[in-house]
């Protein structure tokens, strides 16, 4: 039974990673109401940007990481202007937007693979000499502590700004009804553009942290996206706190499931959880 603290630590780390992706996805979904595949590849975009700036150009991480996050946000914003806004203008259905996002996802992922090859790399410089923290019998590295703290901080920050700031109110208005928001005088295109920037930046942050903790490869986006989406849906799509809760639930289910059953069933458990929720409680844990 003394491996339970370590399992709990593993679950929290996994949950926080998924939460970063889920929270950004929920934000984007609540504003635009379509399943955005590119959310996943932006994690890879930011991670590779940090790779180029850090390892390639030798920039200090304190500079490379914010640049990577901003770059991901910028790419997300450009995708909105270039791909989604024109489609929205023509009243494209959510299906069309989904397919467009899938196309953009595939193209960007292939571009990254062509530029950097598919070799698995890591962003971390101090492997084997990282600071380790011990909590009871559980061991956790410094990067993992950062992931957990950042995950919670981002969620809290986002929930707070959606509730209290004017921008947050406008986003919630658009999420309720885009047409009426326009009538009321909100510049929906500009706000949605900013939403894309923020959610892409958060996805980028997730990609960078995963890059430091394990590593980067061009296909990392899909895996993160799928787990983040499961977390978001289980928690209640559109709700920021729900995304956090759902992701942690997913993290715990996967790791305790691996303990009791086997590692080979990890993905099956994750998607099984999703199916159970979709059948019995489709609105998720928290209603948005």
């Amino acid at each position: 039974m003394d491996i339970v603290p370590q399992l709990v630590a593993n679950s929290i780390i996994a949950g926080a990673t998924y939460a970063l992706v889920a929270v950004g996805f929920s934000l984007g979904f609540s504003a635009t109401r379509f399943f955005n595949f590119t959310h996943g590849v932006l994690a890879a975009v930011a991670a590779y940007a940090v790779f180029v700036l850090g390892s390639g150009l030798g920039l200090h991480w304190g500079l490379a990481i914010p640049c990577g996050i901003l770059f991901a946000g910028l790419v997300g914003w450009l995708l909105d202007i270039g791909v989604y806004r024109p489609l929205r203008k023509r009243r494209a259905t959510n299906m069309v937007l989904l397919v467009a996002s899938l196309g953009a996802f595939t193209a960007i992922q292939a571009l990254i693979a062509m530029l950097f090859t598919s070799q698995f790399r890591t962003l971390a410089r101090n492997i084997g000499t990282q600071k380790l923290y011990t909590v009871g019998t559980a061991v956790i590295t410094q990067t993992q502590v950062i992931i957990v703290l950042v995950g919670i901080a981002v969620t809290v920050g986002l929930a707070f700004s959606l509730k209290k700031t004017l921008f947050g109110k406008m986003v919630r208005a658009i999420s309720d009804d885009e047409e009426v928001s326009k009538i009321v005088g909100i510049n929906t295109n500009r706000i949605i553009g900013v939403v894309f920037f923020i959610s892409s930046a958060i996805a980028g942050l997730a990609g960078i942290l995963v890059g430091y903790d394990t590593g980067i490869e061009p296909t990392m986006g899909m895996h993160l996206l799928l787990k983040g989406v499961v977390g978001a849906i289980v928690g209640g799509v559109g709700s920021i706190w729900g995304a956090l809760l759902g992701s942690f639930l997913l993290g715990f289910a996967e790791n305790f499931g691996t303990w009791q059953i086997s590692g080979a069933w990890k993905s099956a458990i994750a998607f099984g959880l999703l199916i159970v929720f979709l059948i019995f409680r489709p609105q998720g844990i928290l209603r948005s």
Partner: protein, 370 residues
Amino acid sequence: MNNTIKVIVGIVIVALVVWGVMSTRDTAKAPESAQNEASEVTVGLLSPLTGDVASYGESVKHGVELAKAALGADTVTVVYEDTQCDPAEAANAANKLISIDKAVAIVGDLCSSATLAAAPIAEQNSVVMISPASTSPDMTEAGEYIYRTIPSDALQGTFGAQLVYSRGHRRLAVLYINDDYGTGFDQVLKTAFPALGGEIVGSEAVDRDSTDVRTQITKIKSANPDAIYLISNSTAISVSALRQINELGLEAEIFASEGLKSADITEGAKEAAEGLVVSSVSSGTQEFVAQYRATYGEDPGPFAAQAYDAFAVIAKAVAQGAKTGVEIKAYLDTVTFDGASGLIEFDTFGDISGNYDVYVVLNGEFTQNN
């Protein structure tokens, strides 16, 4: 945008895509000036030219190219197909090579799962298939036309078990990738190690491309092994596992299968790979290594020598006048020669025997330690 501009942009994009596809088609076709003789034989190459294990695909491709140049196989056309080590892609590519390119022999695939998916297609069409890297014991029964120039894991598993035992360990845990290769190797270890007197204290599976192996390692840690065998053909899993074993403070000697004998691993896992013991098939005779270095400027990668031999044996069959899969198979069943990776002589199942070398990672380099 008005309609004309849209049409023009559409045509430009389609033209760009078509041009991109045509210019990257990696076919080594004989020049048009040579007569398109009916005696020209087509051989296909199935390998992961892109994807997680693209570095293996590249070294195999080099091995084949080297063999083609060395043996002067001008009547043999090689068609390259990228399978990304995915079983579905391998099956599609095999179909394409056989029905469209009329290949009579195929070198490939690398990953056992992919080869096993393509094997029935080759078997049905009487096309010879020689894998330079698929080691799953299941390949032995895969078919009459299925051969390999690398020994089965039934042998490497036994060798691995003996290696672990001879270094004084009695409690072994296995961390393996959840595909034909991993499960096959794991099964062999489960019989071989106890037979020597040791104990398998834990055995955990990992899905391909997972980077979070923490809980599997936590389970293994609680079983107190003194050695761990890491069986993986995915760089993502290998690097992540090595790092996380180090982070979680699991004190045990780590052994690994030949897929980990690659610079990707030492670069990715850095200090976490120190002391890693890898069992590996031969990287080639001195002659082959020198030839490879002279042509490509670096040491041969994993499976290059085996790929060289796979192509060489087909080229030799063609030089003797074989034109169809049936004729090539007849030659393979009786051939015996000293290839770049050792003695090439197939048994009744299309397998070969082999020796293994032991490498240890010291200061970030693989040093031989037999």
